[in-house]
Subunit: 157 residues, 2 copies
């Protein structure tokens, strides 16, 4: 399979990765969540080479994750903001952070803590079941594919 | 900044991405969650070139995400299993899937649905606050860095 075929895979994870399956891209997304919206700030905070940053921002704009708007009269001054599609990457970013905190602590306490303004408490956002609200353990999950549904329908005939 | 410096960044997201910030690696992790544990099965399901798959599996083993065990008397037959560190990537994988389902549907219903065996219902695992159980909106979150804490301590003196 060619790399370019990944976006066409019949798998939502593969399709998502065709947009954000790259470290520099995710570091840019992280910074946009942190409120860094301008090229120079993104350059400093991600550490990406300028050509790489330009490329990743253009890709994120093409994919509808980021919108680019002028922020001054000068035609060459832009800022980048997450769209609704981009903001919806928050669970991915937070899950990566929680995993890094837990499994790659580097001998330090977590460098960033999150506070949920709605309730006022420090929080570790946690994946829960949308049906029962219980915690999610991968060993307690079953996968049903569309193919399973087709098979079941065929079996019922 | 050199690429190799990413793992040393004072950011848990960057450190996590130094392990899983690569599309092939995440596709391998996805397949291990799906119960594909052998090289040939992983090759078929990820579509990765064999040399790439070998490289990513070796990296995941080095990083403690995967353990490699013989599954037959033949010395060259191995299977790969997620360790506890690997299983803890489930929120990342599920968040990518939910995002792909929502934003890159490709004109199809979600190819995979998840059932929470604990409650028996189809579920869309959702990020919630560990303190109040409420939903998480990135616009309702504050970040506190260790530097903030140091600043606050200094200000109190």
């Amino acid at each position: 399979m060619k790399w370019s075929d990944i976006a066409a895979q019949r798998c939502s994870i593969a399709r998502a990765l065709s947009v954000v399956g790259d470290t520099w891209t995710m570091l840019v997304v992280r910074e946009l969540f942190n409120g860094n919206r301008r090229f120079n700030g993104l350059l400093t905070e991600t550490g990406a080479p300028p050509a790489v940053l330009s490329d990743r921002l253009a890709g994120l704009e093409d994919d509808g994750v980021v919108s680019k708007r002028p922020y001054s009269q000068r035609a060459d001054r832009f800022e980048y903001r997450l769209t609704a599609k981009g903001r919806d990457l928050y669970p991915v970013v937070v899950s990566l952070m929680a995993w890094g905190d837990r499994w790659m602590p580097n001998g330090e306490p977590p460098p960033v803590q999150l506070r949920h303004r709605t309730c006022g408490h420090l929080t570790t956002p946690t994946l829960t079941c949308s049906a029962c609200g219980g915690s999610i353990d991968p060993r307690e999950m079953d996968r049903h594919t569309s193919a399973d549904a087709v098979d079941a329908t065929a079996a019922e005939r």
